[in-house]
């Protein structure tokens, strides 16, 4: 303490000492820049030669990518999108002739439809004034707008076909049998949701085709037993065109602005969310029920063990 004070009072000598020290320090810094930085740069370049060792890379990919059985398995298991699959499957399960690939194609088309659908939503207003004009605008002015709409339309049709063929294959291979009964039911619901998705989209261009298709379709709801005003016992239960199930579907007694909005919301938000949930269950159960059903070894009638009653 005393020494410090003394130096402080003395002033000049201490200042010189400080200056020297700063000078020396700066010199050291400059020297370090000269020697360390090139070394670091060299090291950096060495690292860049193998980007898989960088922290960024290893933080994203948890394992190496060498072609070893372990890494092939990890490639599937540690990836959120691929972990739907097991690491290994029966050698026959990849045969196209068995599965026809229709379930996967259906899912792929759903993704295509979500993607093109979101893009279409940027250009579309679900109102009577705008809807038809937006489609015209999309067809004639938006870059690739026509392609976008066409892809959405045809992917939707293709998805309906793919779903039917998927169901057809699952039936023909008896894949709904024990223990997959529940997943067949989830699939039936997904089939219905697919048709409803397509149907609700039909009205959105607000043209004659969609308008009359939806008019024909929803007119049937008038005749719903108990809940429709023209259906059996509907009149007795106090159903009128203004409070029956068709009114609820359309948001009015005719296909008009409210129906357009309702079908838009069902088409873009409601049904996709519900369908996504059912899809999650569907895929999950495929795995939990023992993976893909076949091609299984054939069973002989003489080997069937009748369960005891």
């Amino acid at each position: 303490m005393a020494e410090d004070n003394k130096n402080g009072k003395n002033g000049n000598g201490a200042r010189v000492g400080l200056l020297e020290r700063v000078k020396a320090g700066v010199k050291e810094d400059v020297q370090s820049l000269k020697t360390d930085m090139p070394a670091k740069a060299k090291e950096q370049i060495e690292h860049l030669k193998d980007p898989t060792k960088t922290q960024v890379y290893t933080s994203i990919f948890r394992h190496k990518h060498d072609d070893t059985p372990r890494n092939r398995a990890l490639g599937v298991l540690s990836n959120v999108f691929l972990h739907l699959h097991p690491a290994k499957i029966n050698r026959d399960a990849v045969r196209y002739s068995y599965t026809w690939g229709m379930g996967g194609i259906t899912f792929y088309l759903f993704i295509v439809l979500t993607f093109t659908g979101v893009l279409l939503m940027f250009y579309y207003h679900p109102s009577k004034v705008q809807a038809f004009r937006d489609v015209l605008y999309l067809e004639h002015d938006v870059p690739f707008g026509k392609l976008l709409r066409n892809m959405h339309r045809w992917a939707a049709h293709l998805m309906v076909i793919a779903v039917w063929l998927h169901m057809f294959r699952v039936f023909l291979t008896g894949s709904y049998k024990k223990p997959r009964e529940f997943n067949w039911n989830v699939g039936v619901i997904l089939l219905v949701l697919t048709l409803l998705l397509s149907f609700t989209g039909y009205l959105l261009p607000d043209d004659q085709l969609g308008f009359w298709a939806v008019t024909v379709g929803t007119n049937m709801a008038r005749a719903t037993p108990l809940l429709g005003h023209e259906g059996p016992f509907g009149h007795q239960l106090g159903m009128t065109p203004y409070n029956d199930i068709r009114f609820g579907l359309l948001g009015g007694s005719i296909v008009d602005a409210n129906a357009l909005l309702r079908s838009y919301i069902w088409h873009c938000i409601g049904i996709p969310i519900v369908a996504s949930i059912f899809m999650i269950v569907h895929f999950w159960r495929v795995r939990k029920d023992g993976g893909i059903s076949g091609p299984a070894p054939v069973m002989l009638a003489s080997e069937v063990k009748e369960p005891k009653k």
């Binding site: 339309r153 294959r169 008896g174 039911n185 004659q208 969609g210 037993p225 023209e230 059996p232």
Partner: protein, 309 residues
């Protein structure tokens, strides 16, 4: 032969999926049939020699010792999925570039489209409107189709044919499904698309759609043919006929099923058996009613103050 009319229907953009569905179905039925045949031959072979059944590979293609039973999903399954996605994308792209989604005039409630058709995948139900009242064709029937599909895994007690294509082990279930899917669903859609013209009248392929054609058809109700006039008697008569159909039809179906499907018959519980019979008879009622209508011009069978069948 009006080729132009034929071309107009077949080339309408929204009808392309149906035109495409037909060859797709033929191809996949062929693919399934080929595998079913191979499996059935193998099954027949193994059934005759129990010694062979113990050692022989239970699939219709060879397997040699030393071959791996399982393969890695990465890359053996993923490459298939990737390829499928690319092919579907390519098809969709070409389809979307070459063919535009239809856009009619703006919707106009005062100008009815003739024919006003539902989206193609619902045309089967619209065709049913010819033969049934809307509450049956539009509400009850779709519900029964959905529920009917859902109960399949629970009423098909046959343990054979799970996970491989076969015909001989599951003749009844596959036959019933093919009948429902191909004749009552796909065929009705094809009729609704290619045959039904203005006023939902029957136009043979190549026949010009005549918007002024009138058909003088006198449809009668079944009770009228028997000279029944009072409402009460009509209601009772209809109930007897419909009930009689289910009783007599059920008895015939029972006699046939018991004879030709003794094992399934034995396995089915009373609940399973009655549910199966109900859906089977209801399904057969469709072509039965169509026949009554087309051959005998009969509109209703059962007339009550609240609903008609």
């Amino acid at each position: 032969m009006d080729w132009r009319q034929l071309w107009e229907i077949a080339s309408a953009p929204d009808n392309i999926p149906i035109v495409g569905l037909i060859p797709l179905l033929i191809f996949y039925i062929y693919l399934a049939w080929k595998q079913a045949k191979a499996n059935d031959e193998l099954i027949a072979e193994l059934e005759t020699s129990p010694a062979m059944a113990k050692t022989h590979h239970r699939k219709s293609w060879p397997f040699r010792p030393g071959w791996q039973k399982e393969v890695h999903v990465w890359p053996f399954l993923l490459r298939m999925e990737f390829l499928a996605a690319i092919i579907v994308s390519a098809i969709l792209m070409v389809w979307s570039i070459t063919l535009s989604a239809p856009l009619e005039e703006p919707s106009n409630p005062n100008l009815t489209m003739n024919p006003a058709k539902a989206p193609w995948y619902f045309l089967g139900l619209q065709e049913m409107l010819v033969y049934f009242d809307p509450w049956i064709a539009g509400v009850v029937m779709p519900t029964l189709i959905i529920v009917g599909l859902m109960v399949i895994p629970y009423i098909d007690t046959n343990p054979l044919g799970s996970g491989y294509y076969t015909w001989k082990q599951r003749k009844f279930s596959i036959g019933t499904f093919l009948f429902g899917f191909l004749f009552l669903w796909v065929a009705m859609i094809i009729i609704g698309t290619f045959i039904r013209g203005p006023g939902w009248q029957w136009f043979w392929p190549g026949q010009t759609w005549d918007h002024n054609r009138l058909i003088y058809e006198v449809n009668r109700d079944l009770p009228d043919i028997f000279g029944i006039t009072s409402n009460l008697a009509k209601a009772i008569f209809g109930a007897v006929v419909v009930g009689g159909y289910y009783l007599v039809g059920g008895f015939i179906a029972h006699a046939l099923f018991r004879r030709y499907n003794p094992k399934d018959y034995q396995r089915l519980s009373l609940l399973q058996y009655s549910i199966m019979m109900f859906f089977l008879l209801t399904m057969v009622a469709l072509p039965a009613k169509m026949l009554l209508r087309l051959a005998f011009n009969i509109k209703y069978v059962w007339i009550t103050p609240w609903f008609n069948v």
